[in-house]
Protein backbone atom coordinates (compact mmCIF):
# COMPACT_ATOMS: atom_id res chain seq x y z
CA UNK A 1 0.00 0.00 0.00
CA UNK A 2 1.13 3.56 -0.70
CA UNK A 3 2.49 5.54 2.26
CA UNK A 4 -0.23 8.13 1.80
CA UNK A 5 -2.94 5.49 2.24
CA UNK A 6 -1.26 4.23 5.40
CA UNK A 7 -1.21 7.82 6.64
CA UNK A 8 -4.98 8.11 6.14
CA UNK A 9 -5.59 4.82 7.95
CA UNK A 10 -3.26 5.60 10.83
CA UNK A 11 -5.03 8.94 11.32
CA UNK A 12 -8.20 6.94 11.98
CA UNK A 13 -6.39 4.77 14.52
CA UNK A 14 -5.11 7.84 16.36
CA UNK A 15 -8.48 9.59 16.31
CA UNK A 16 -10.23 6.53 17.76
CA UNK A 17 -7.60 6.06 20.44
CA UNK A 18 -8.25 9.57 21.71
CA UNK A 19 -11.53 8.07 22.94
CA UNK A 20 -9.73 4.91 24.07
CA UNK A 21 -11.27 2.97 21.17
CA UNK A 22 -9.62 0.63 18.70
CA UNK A 23 -10.77 0.20 15.12
CA UNK A 24 -11.62 -3.47 15.77
CA UNK A 25 -13.45 -2.59 19.03
CA UNK A 26 -10.96 -4.49 21.18
CA UNK A 27 -10.07 -3.43 24.72
CA UNK A 28 -6.62 -1.77 24.91
CA UNK A 29 -5.28 -4.78 26.84
CA UNK A 30 -6.89 -7.57 24.80
CA UNK A 31 -5.43 -10.04 22.34
CA UNK A 32 -7.18 -10.84 19.07
CA UNK A 33 -8.66 -14.36 18.75
CA UNK A 34 -5.98 -17.00 18.85
CA UNK A 35 -6.07 -20.37 17.14
CA UNK A 36 -3.28 -22.91 17.48
CA UNK A 37 -2.93 -26.10 15.49
CA UNK A 38 -0.14 -28.65 15.08
CA UNK A 39 1.05 -31.10 12.41
CA UNK A 40 1.88 -28.54 9.76
CA UNK A 41 4.68 -30.76 8.57
CA UNK A 42 5.25 -34.47 9.18
CA UNK A 43 8.93 -34.09 8.36
CA UNK A 44 9.37 -31.56 11.13
CA UNK A 45 10.12 -32.86 14.62
CA UNK A 46 7.51 -30.41 15.84
CA UNK A 47 5.39 -27.78 14.13
CA UNK A 48 2.57 -25.35 14.73
CA UNK A 49 0.38 -22.86 12.95
CA UNK A 50 -0.92 -19.87 14.83
CA UNK A 51 -3.62 -17.44 13.81
CA UNK A 52 -3.66 -14.23 15.80
CA UNK A 53 -6.61 -12.40 14.29
CA UNK A 54 -5.64 -12.12 10.63
CA UNK A 55 -1.96 -12.65 11.35
CA UNK A 56 -1.09 -16.19 10.36
CA UNK A 57 2.29 -17.84 11.01
CA UNK A 58 4.00 -21.22 10.99
CA UNK A 59 6.81 -22.57 13.14
CA UNK A 60 8.76 -25.75 12.55
CA UNK A 61 11.40 -27.49 14.65
CA UNK A 62 14.23 -29.63 13.31
CA UNK A 63 16.55 -31.46 15.72
CA UNK A 64 20.01 -31.72 14.19
CA UNK A 65 23.16 -33.40 15.50
CA UNK A 66 26.06 -31.05 16.05
CA UNK A 67 29.26 -30.51 17.99
CA UNK A 68 29.22 -28.38 21.16
CA UNK A 69 30.78 -24.94 21.51
CA UNK A 70 34.23 -25.19 23.14
CA UNK A 71 33.08 -23.08 26.13
CA UNK A 72 30.05 -25.31 26.86
CA UNK A 73 31.09 -28.90 26.01
CA UNK A 74 28.18 -30.40 27.97
CA UNK A 75 25.37 -28.35 26.48
CA UNK A 76 23.19 -28.49 23.40
CA UNK A 77 21.69 -25.31 21.97
CA UNK A 78 18.87 -23.72 20.04
CA UNK A 79 18.78 -21.51 16.98
CA UNK A 80 15.83 -19.35 16.01
CA UNK A 81 15.41 -18.02 12.48
CA UNK A 82 12.71 -15.93 10.88
CA UNK A 83 12.20 -15.23 7.23
CA UNK A 84 9.84 -12.39 6.37
CA UNK A 85 8.55 -14.13 3.28
CA UNK A 86 7.09 -11.85 0.56
CA UNK A 87 3.91 -13.92 0.43
CA UNK A 88 2.90 -12.48 3.80
CA UNK A 89 3.05 -8.74 3.15
CA UNK A 90 3.59 -6.38 0.23
CA UNK A 91 6.60 -4.75 1.84
CA UNK A 92 8.62 -7.95 2.32
CA UNK A 93 11.09 -9.20 -0.25
CA UNK A 94 13.48 -12.09 -0.69
CA UNK A 95 17.13 -11.67 0.13
CA UNK A 96 19.45 -11.78 3.11
CA UNK A 97 17.59 -11.13 6.40
CA UNK A 98 17.05 -7.43 7.11
CA UNK A 99 17.28 -5.87 10.60
CA UNK A 100 13.53 -6.39 11.22
CA UNK A 101 13.75 -10.15 10.63
CA UNK A 102 16.95 -10.41 12.66
CA UNK A 103 15.41 -8.49 15.55
CA UNK A 104 12.22 -10.56 15.80
CA UNK A 105 14.07 -13.87 15.61
CA UNK A 106 16.60 -12.79 18.22
CA UNK A 107 13.85 -11.63 20.59
CA UNK A 108 11.95 -14.94 20.21
CA UNK A 109 15.28 -16.72 20.74
CA UNK A 110 15.88 -14.80 23.98
CA UNK A 111 12.34 -15.46 25.16
CA UNK A 112 12.86 -19.25 24.82
CA UNK A 113 16.55 -19.44 25.74
CA UNK A 114 16.56 -17.13 28.77
CA UNK A 115 13.42 -18.67 30.29
CA UNK A 116 15.56 -21.81 30.69
CA UNK A 117 12.53 -23.83 29.61
CA UNK A 118 14.96 -26.12 27.78
CA UNK A 119 17.71 -27.60 29.89
CA UNK A 120 20.64 -27.38 27.50
CA UNK A 121 22.42 -30.13 29.47
CA UNK A 122 19.61 -32.51 28.44
CA UNK A 123 20.41 -31.66 24.82
CA UNK A 124 23.97 -33.00 25.22
CA UNK A 125 24.42 -36.51 23.87
CA UNK A 126 28.17 -37.05 24.45
CA UNK A 127 30.09 -34.38 26.33
CA UNK A 128 32.51 -32.51 24.09
CA UNK A 129 31.46 -34.52 21.03
CA UNK A 130 27.79 -34.62 20.16
CA UNK A 131 24.81 -32.43 21.00
CA UNK A 132 21.34 -31.61 19.76
CA UNK A 133 20.86 -28.30 18.03
CA UNK A 134 17.20 -27.41 18.11
CA UNK A 135 16.41 -25.26 15.06
CA UNK A 136 13.19 -23.29 15.39
CA UNK A 137 12.27 -21.65 12.09
CA UNK A 138 9.48 -19.13 11.74
CA UNK A 139 7.53 -18.11 8.64
CA UNK A 140 4.71 -15.61 8.30
CA UNK A 141 1.89 -16.54 5.92
CA UNK A 142 -0.07 -13.33 6.43
CA UNK A 143 1.20 -10.40 8.47
CA UNK A 144 -1.52 -8.27 9.99
CA UNK A 145 0.74 -7.03 12.76
CA UNK A 146 2.48 -8.36 15.86
CA UNK A 147 4.64 -11.06 14.37
CA UNK A 148 6.60 -10.97 17.64
CA UNK A 149 3.80 -12.59 19.65
CA UNK A 150 2.51 -14.80 16.84
CA UNK A 151 6.02 -16.19 16.33
CA UNK A 152 6.55 -16.66 20.04
CA UNK A 153 3.26 -18.57 20.45
CA UNK A 154 4.00 -20.68 17.35
CA UNK A 155 7.57 -21.36 18.47
CA UNK A 156 6.44 -22.54 21.89
CA UNK A 157 3.59 -24.61 20.43
CA UNK A 158 6.03 -26.26 18.02
CA UNK A 159 8.45 -27.03 20.87
CA UNK A 160 5.64 -28.58 22.92
CA UNK A 161 4.92 -30.76 19.86
CA UNK A 162 8.58 -31.72 19.34
CA UNK A 163 9.74 -35.36 19.44
CA UNK A 164 13.41 -36.21 19.79
CA UNK A 165 14.69 -38.45 16.96
CA UNK A 166 16.13 -41.84 17.83
CA UNK A 167 19.89 -42.22 17.52
CA UNK A 168 21.75 -45.36 16.50
CA UNK A 169 25.53 -45.47 15.93
CA UNK A 170 25.75 -41.67 16.36
CA UNK A 171 23.24 -41.14 13.57
CA UNK A 172 19.58 -40.12 13.45
CA UNK A 173 17.13 -42.87 12.55
CA UNK A 174 14.63 -41.12 10.27
CA UNK A 175 11.02 -41.32 11.32
CA UNK A 176 11.70 -42.91 14.72
CA UNK A 177 11.65 -41.06 17.99
CA UNK A 178 13.03 -41.64 21.46
CA UNK A 179 10.64 -39.35 23.31
CA UNK A 180 9.30 -35.84 23.62
CA UNK A 181 11.29 -32.71 24.21
CA UNK A 182 11.11 -31.70 27.88
CA UNK A 183 10.04 -28.13 28.65
CA UNK A 184 10.34 -26.71 32.15
CA UNK A 185 8.14 -23.67 31.67
CA UNK A 186 6.10 -21.80 29.07
CA UNK A 187 7.62 -18.47 28.06
CA UNK A 188 5.55 -16.12 25.88
CA UNK A 189 6.09 -12.65 24.48
CA UNK A 190 3.53 -9.90 24.87
CA UNK A 191 4.02 -6.92 22.60
CA UNK A 192 2.65 -3.41 23.03
CA UNK A 193 2.43 -0.44 20.69
CA UNK A 194 2.60 3.09 22.04
CA UNK A 195 0.52 5.36 19.84
CA UNK A 196 0.56 8.96 21.04
CA UNK A 197 0.20 8.51 24.77
CA UNK A 198 -1.85 5.34 24.60
CA UNK A 199 -0.39 1.86 24.94
CA UNK A 200 -2.20 -1.07 23.31
CA UNK A 201 -1.57 -4.81 23.46
CA UNK A 202 -1.20 -6.94 20.31
CA UNK A 203 -1.16 -4.22 17.62
CA UNK A 204 -2.60 -4.90 14.18
CA UNK A 205 -0.62 -3.84 11.11
CA UNK A 206 -2.33 -0.46 10.89
CA UNK A 207 -1.74 0.13 14.61
CA UNK A 208 1.87 -0.89 14.07
CA UNK A 209 2.11 1.68 11.28
CA UNK A 210 0.69 4.29 13.66
CA UNK A 211 2.98 3.41 16.57
CA UNK A 212 5.65 5.67 18.00
CA UNK A 213 7.32 2.89 19.95
CA UNK A 214 7.06 -0.80 20.67
CA UNK A 215 7.72 -2.82 23.81
CA UNK A 216 7.82 -6.59 24.18
CA UNK A 217 8.02 -8.44 27.47
CA UNK A 218 8.41 -12.19 27.86
CA UNK A 219 6.68 -13.76 30.84
CA UNK A 220 6.61 -17.36 32.08
CA UNK A 221 3.80 -19.45 33.57
CA UNK A 222 5.58 -19.25 36.94
CA UNK A 223 5.51 -15.43 36.85
CA UNK A 224 9.07 -14.64 35.87
CA UNK A 225 10.10 -12.02 33.34
CA UNK A 226 12.68 -13.42 30.92
CA UNK A 227 13.14 -10.90 28.11
CA UNK A 228 12.47 -7.27 27.21
CA UNK A 229 12.84 -5.47 23.92
CA UNK A 230 12.01 -1.86 23.22
CA UNK A 231 11.84 -0.83 19.58
CA UNK A 232 10.61 2.08 17.51
CA UNK A 233 11.48 5.75 17.54
CA UNK A 234 9.61 6.85 20.66
CA UNK A 235 10.19 6.30 24.37
CA UNK A 236 8.37 4.83 27.36
CA UNK A 237 8.03 6.05 30.92
CA UNK A 238 8.90 3.67 33.75
CA UNK A 239 5.21 3.61 34.75
CA UNK A 240 4.19 2.57 31.23
CA UNK A 241 6.71 -0.29 31.28
CA UNK A 242 5.36 -1.45 34.67
CA UNK A 243 1.81 -1.37 33.34
CA UNK A 244 2.86 -3.38 30.26
CA UNK A 245 4.42 -6.00 32.54
CA UNK A 246 1.19 -6.27 34.58
CA UNK A 247 -0.98 -6.63 31.48
CA UNK A 248 1.45 -9.13 29.90
CA UNK A 249 1.42 -11.31 32.99
CA UNK A 250 -2.37 -11.55 32.88
CA UNK A 251 -2.86 -11.71 29.11
CA UNK A 252 -0.24 -14.41 28.57
CA UNK A 253 -2.13 -16.67 31.01
CA UNK A 254 -5.10 -16.56 28.62
CA UNK A 255 -2.85 -17.36 25.67
CA UNK A 256 -1.34 -20.40 27.45
CA UNK A 257 -4.81 -21.96 27.67
CA UNK A 258 -4.76 -22.25 23.87
CA UNK A 259 -1.57 -24.30 23.84
Amino acid sequence: MEPVLWALKTDKVKAALKEEKRLDDRALDAYRDIEVSNEVSKNAEGSARVRLGKTDVIAGVKMILGTPYPDSPGEGTISVGAELHPMAFSEYEFGPPKPDAIEVSRVVDRCIRESKTLNFKDLCIKEGEQIWICFIDLYPLNDDGNLFDAFSIAGLAALIDTKIPKIEDDKIVKGEYSGKLKLARQPLLSTFAKIGNTVVLDPTMVEQKAQDARFSVATTDDNYLCAFQKGGFGGFTGAEIDSCIDIATKASKMVRKKL
Binding site: P97, P99, D100, I102, E103, S105, R106, R110, R113, E114, S115, K116, A213, F215, T220, N223, Y224, L225, C226, A227, F228, Q229, K230, G231, G232, F233, G234, G235, F236, T237, G238, I241, D242, I245, T249
Partner: protein, 262 residues
Protein backbone atom coordinates in the same frame (compact mmCIF):
# COMPACT_ATOMS: atom_id res chain seq x y z
CA UNK B 1 37.52 -18.04 35.25
CA UNK B 2 35.69 -19.74 38.09
CA UNK B 3 34.05 -23.10 37.53
CA UNK B 4 30.35 -22.92 36.83
CA UNK B 5 29.28 -24.98 39.86
CA UNK B 6 31.50 -23.11 42.30
CA UNK B 7 29.63 -20.83 44.72
CA UNK B 8 30.75 -17.25 44.33
CA UNK B 9 29.78 -14.23 46.41
CA UNK B 10 29.10 -11.55 43.84
CA UNK B 11 28.69 -9.03 46.65
CA UNK B 12 30.64 -9.55 49.90
CA UNK B 13 30.68 -6.94 52.69
CA UNK B 14 29.15 -4.45 50.26
CA UNK B 15 31.90 -4.98 47.68
CA UNK B 16 31.80 -6.70 44.31
CA UNK B 17 34.40 -9.00 42.77
CA UNK B 18 36.26 -6.01 41.31
CA UNK B 19 35.96 -3.99 44.53
CA UNK B 20 33.10 -1.77 43.33
CA UNK B 21 30.02 -0.93 45.35
CA UNK B 22 26.62 -2.18 44.17
CA UNK B 23 25.69 1.24 42.72
CA UNK B 24 29.10 2.08 41.30
CA UNK B 25 30.00 2.36 37.61
CA UNK B 26 33.37 1.27 36.33
CA UNK B 27 35.72 4.24 35.71
CA UNK B 28 34.29 6.26 32.82
CA UNK B 29 36.02 8.94 30.73
CA UNK B 30 34.90 10.67 27.54
CA UNK B 31 36.92 12.84 25.19
CA UNK B 32 35.18 14.98 22.57
CA UNK B 33 36.49 15.77 19.10
CA UNK B 34 38.94 13.00 18.27
CA UNK B 35 38.41 12.45 14.54
CA UNK B 36 39.35 15.44 12.43
CA UNK B 37 37.39 14.53 9.30
CA UNK B 38 34.12 13.86 11.12
CA UNK B 39 31.45 16.47 11.87
CA UNK B 40 31.42 15.25 15.45
CA UNK B 41 33.28 12.56 17.34
CA UNK B 42 33.99 11.10 20.75
CA UNK B 43 36.25 8.56 22.42
CA UNK B 44 35.05 6.73 25.48
CA UNK B 45 36.70 4.42 27.99
CA UNK B 46 34.48 2.57 30.44
CA UNK B 47 36.28 -0.07 32.46
CA UNK B 48 37.95 -2.20 29.82
CA UNK B 49 35.52 -1.01 27.10
CA UNK B 50 37.04 1.35 24.57
CA UNK B 51 34.84 2.94 21.92
CA UNK B 52 35.40 5.52 19.22
CA UNK B 53 32.50 7.24 17.44
CA UNK B 54 32.33 9.46 14.37
CA UNK B 55 29.25 11.40 13.21
CA UNK B 56 28.79 12.52 9.60
CA UNK B 57 25.77 14.55 8.65
CA UNK B 58 23.04 15.51 8.27
CA UNK B 59 23.90 14.73 4.64
CA UNK B 60 21.88 13.63 1.63
CA UNK B 61 20.68 10.05 1.99
CA UNK B 62 21.45 7.87 -1.02
CA UNK B 63 19.97 5.94 -2.75
CA UNK B 64 17.14 8.44 -2.92
CA UNK B 65 14.28 5.97 -2.37
CA UNK B 66 15.53 5.51 1.18
CA UNK B 67 14.95 9.18 1.97
CA UNK B 68 12.16 10.28 4.29
CA UNK B 69 10.68 13.62 3.18
CA UNK B 70 9.55 14.26 6.76
CA UNK B 71 12.75 13.64 8.67
CA UNK B 72 16.40 12.73 8.90
CA UNK B 73 17.23 9.09 9.48
CA UNK B 74 19.68 8.33 12.26
CA UNK B 75 21.91 5.50 11.09
CA UNK B 76 23.81 4.11 14.08
CA UNK B 77 26.23 1.39 12.98
CA UNK B 78 27.78 -0.66 15.78
CA UNK B 79 30.82 -2.72 14.84
CA UNK B 80 33.27 -4.67 16.92
CA UNK B 81 36.91 -4.67 15.85
CA UNK B 82 38.14 -8.20 15.17
CA UNK B 83 40.55 -7.98 18.12
CA UNK B 84 38.07 -6.48 20.61
CA UNK B 85 36.94 -9.86 21.99
CA UNK B 86 38.92 -12.83 23.43
CA UNK B 87 38.59 -14.87 20.20
CA UNK B 88 39.04 -13.08 16.87
CA UNK B 89 35.67 -11.80 15.68
CA UNK B 90 34.67 -12.40 12.10
CA UNK B 91 34.72 -8.91 10.51
CA UNK B 92 31.37 -9.52 8.81
CA UNK B 93 28.63 -7.82 10.87
CA UNK B 94 26.96 -10.48 13.03
CA UNK B 95 23.23 -10.67 13.76
CA UNK B 96 23.98 -9.30 17.23
CA UNK B 97 25.64 -6.20 15.78
CA UNK B 98 22.76 -5.64 13.35
CA UNK B 99 20.20 -5.84 16.18
CA UNK B 100 22.23 -3.49 18.41
CA UNK B 101 22.56 -1.04 15.52
CA UNK B 102 18.80 -1.08 15.02
CA UNK B 103 17.75 -0.49 18.63
CA UNK B 104 20.43 2.18 19.18
CA UNK B 105 19.42 4.01 15.97
CA UNK B 106 15.86 4.08 17.28
CA UNK B 107 16.99 5.35 20.68
CA UNK B 108 18.93 8.27 19.16
CA UNK B 109 16.19 9.05 16.66
CA UNK B 110 13.98 10.00 19.62
CA UNK B 111 16.57 12.47 20.93
CA UNK B 112 17.42 14.21 17.64
CA UNK B 113 15.16 16.93 16.13
CA UNK B 114 15.11 14.85 12.97
CA UNK B 115 12.19 16.70 11.39
CA UNK B 116 14.48 19.69 10.80
CA UNK B 117 16.55 17.79 8.23
CA UNK B 118 14.23 16.05 5.75
CA UNK B 119 15.67 13.63 3.19
CA UNK B 120 18.97 13.35 5.03
CA UNK B 121 20.87 10.77 7.00
CA UNK B 122 22.88 11.28 10.16
CA UNK B 123 25.52 8.55 10.13
CA UNK B 124 26.86 7.47 13.50
CA UNK B 125 29.76 5.05 13.17
CA UNK B 126 30.62 3.22 16.38
CA UNK B 127 33.74 1.11 16.57
CA UNK B 128 34.38 -1.07 19.61
CA UNK B 129 38.14 -1.34 20.13
CA UNK B 130 38.07 -3.35 23.35
CA UNK B 131 35.16 -4.90 25.20
CA UNK B 132 34.21 -6.34 28.55
CA UNK B 133 30.39 -6.33 28.88
CA UNK B 134 28.35 -3.17 28.37
CA UNK B 135 29.76 -2.18 25.00
CA UNK B 136 26.40 -1.11 23.54
CA UNK B 137 25.80 1.22 26.50
CA UNK B 138 29.30 2.57 25.96
CA UNK B 139 28.72 3.00 22.22
CA UNK B 140 25.35 4.68 22.67
CA UNK B 141 26.56 7.06 25.40
CA UNK B 142 29.56 8.05 23.29
CA UNK B 143 27.39 8.43 20.19
CA UNK B 144 25.07 10.99 21.74
CA UNK B 145 28.09 13.06 22.80
CA UNK B 146 29.45 12.87 19.25
CA UNK B 147 26.04 14.01 17.91
CA UNK B 148 26.14 17.02 20.24
CA UNK B 149 29.71 17.70 19.09
CA UNK B 150 28.44 17.68 15.50
CA UNK B 151 26.07 20.49 16.49
CA UNK B 152 22.94 18.46 15.81
CA UNK B 153 19.95 19.86 17.75
CA UNK B 154 18.73 17.37 20.32
CA UNK B 155 15.99 17.12 22.95
CA UNK B 156 18.56 15.79 25.40
CA UNK B 157 21.63 13.60 25.48
CA UNK B 158 20.99 9.87 25.59
CA UNK B 159 22.71 8.26 28.56
CA UNK B 160 23.00 4.50 28.78
CA UNK B 161 24.24 1.85 31.15
CA UNK B 162 23.88 -1.81 31.95
CA UNK B 163 22.11 -2.97 35.10
CA UNK B 164 21.10 -6.41 36.25
CA UNK B 165 21.57 -9.37 38.52
CA UNK B 166 24.42 -11.70 39.43
CA UNK B 167 24.38 -14.24 42.27
CA UNK B 168 20.99 -12.92 43.38
CA UNK B 169 22.29 -9.35 43.80
CA UNK B 170 20.95 -6.38 41.84
CA UNK B 171 24.00 -4.45 40.61
CA UNK B 172 24.87 -1.59 38.28
CA UNK B 173 27.11 -1.86 35.20
CA UNK B 174 27.92 -5.60 35.15
CA UNK B 175 31.40 -6.60 34.01
CA UNK B 176 32.00 -9.75 31.96
CA UNK B 177 32.64 -11.90 35.02
CA UNK B 178 29.34 -10.83 36.56
CA UNK B 179 27.52 -11.22 33.25
CA UNK B 180 28.69 -14.85 33.12
CA UNK B 181 27.07 -15.70 36.49
CA UNK B 182 24.75 -18.73 36.19
CA UNK B 183 21.71 -16.63 37.14
CA UNK B 184 22.89 -13.46 35.37
CA UNK B 185 20.34 -10.97 34.08
CA UNK B 186 21.59 -8.23 31.80
CA UNK B 187 19.51 -5.11 31.16
CA UNK B 188 20.89 -2.48 28.81
CA UNK B 189 18.90 0.72 29.41
CA UNK B 190 19.12 4.22 27.95
CA UNK B 191 17.18 7.30 28.98
CA UNK B 192 16.95 10.98 28.17
CA UNK B 193 17.91 12.08 31.68
CA UNK B 194 15.88 15.29 31.94
CA UNK B 195 12.54 13.50 31.49
CA UNK B 196 13.74 9.98 32.38
CA UNK B 197 12.03 8.75 29.19
CA UNK B 198 13.28 5.26 28.35
CA UNK B 199 14.57 5.12 24.78
CA UNK B 200 16.36 1.78 24.89
CA UNK B 201 15.48 -1.22 27.01
CA UNK B 202 16.45 -4.84 26.59
CA UNK B 203 16.67 -7.71 29.03
CA UNK B 204 17.58 -11.34 29.13
CA UNK B 205 17.55 -13.72 32.08
CA UNK B 206 15.02 -14.69 34.74
CA UNK B 207 13.79 -11.82 36.87
CA UNK B 208 10.84 -11.21 39.18
CA UNK B 209 8.73 -8.05 38.81
CA UNK B 210 10.02 -6.87 42.19
CA UNK B 211 13.63 -7.29 41.06
CA UNK B 212 12.86 -5.42 37.83
CA UNK B 213 11.61 -2.41 39.79
CA UNK B 214 14.90 -2.32 41.69
CA UNK B 215 16.81 -2.64 38.42
CA UNK B 216 14.91 0.26 36.85
CA UNK B 217 15.60 2.53 39.80
CA UNK B 218 19.29 1.62 39.82
CA UNK B 219 19.54 1.86 36.03
CA UNK B 220 18.11 5.39 35.98
CA UNK B 221 20.58 6.40 38.71
CA UNK B 222 23.42 4.92 36.66
CA UNK B 223 22.35 6.74 33.49
CA UNK B 224 22.34 10.01 35.40
CA UNK B 225 25.93 9.39 36.49
CA UNK B 226 26.85 8.77 32.85
CA UNK B 227 25.04 12.00 31.92
CA UNK B 228 27.29 14.01 34.24
CA UNK B 229 30.40 12.59 32.56
CA UNK B 230 28.93 13.31 29.10
CA UNK B 231 28.13 16.92 29.96
CA UNK B 232 31.50 17.50 31.58
CA UNK B 233 33.27 16.13 28.47
CA UNK B 234 31.35 18.47 26.15
CA UNK B 235 31.86 21.41 28.48
CA UNK B 236 35.59 20.69 28.67
CA UNK B 237 36.01 20.84 24.89
CA UNK B 238 33.92 23.93 24.36
CA UNK B 239 35.18 25.78 27.44
CA UNK B 240 38.72 25.11 26.25
CA UNK B 241 37.83 26.29 22.76
CA UNK B 242 36.21 29.39 24.26
CA UNK B 243 39.30 30.06 26.38
CA UNK B 244 41.60 29.80 23.37
CA UNK B 245 39.41 32.14 21.38
CA UNK B 246 39.35 34.52 24.33
CA UNK B 247 43.15 34.53 24.56
CA UNK B 248 43.51 35.12 20.84
CA UNK B 249 41.13 38.05 21.09
CA UNK B 250 43.12 39.61 23.92
CA UNK B 251 46.34 39.17 21.94
CA UNK B 252 44.76 40.87 18.94
CA UNK B 253 43.50 43.71 21.10
CA UNK B 254 46.96 44.18 22.61
CA UNK B 255 48.54 44.17 19.17
CA UNK B 256 45.99 46.70 17.96
CA UNK B 257 46.74 48.97 20.93
CA UNK B 258 50.48 48.76 20.22
CA UNK B 259 49.78 49.70 16.61
CA UNK B 260 47.81 52.73 17.78
CA UNK B 261 50.59 53.83 20.17
CA UNK B 262 53.08 53.63 17.36
Amino acid sequence: MAKKDEKIDYVKNGKRVDGRKVEELRPLTIEVGVIDNADGSAYLEWGQNKVIVAVYGPRELLPKHKQDPRKAIVNFQYRMATFSVPDRKNPRPARREIEISKVCSEALQRAVFAERFPNTVIDVFVQILDSNAGSRAAGLSAASVALADAGIPMRDLVASTGVGKAGGEIILDLNKFEEDAPDAVDIPIAIMPRTEEIVLLQMDGLLTTKEWKKCLELGVKGCKQVYEVQRAALQKKYDAAGAVKGKEKKKEEKAAKKEKVK
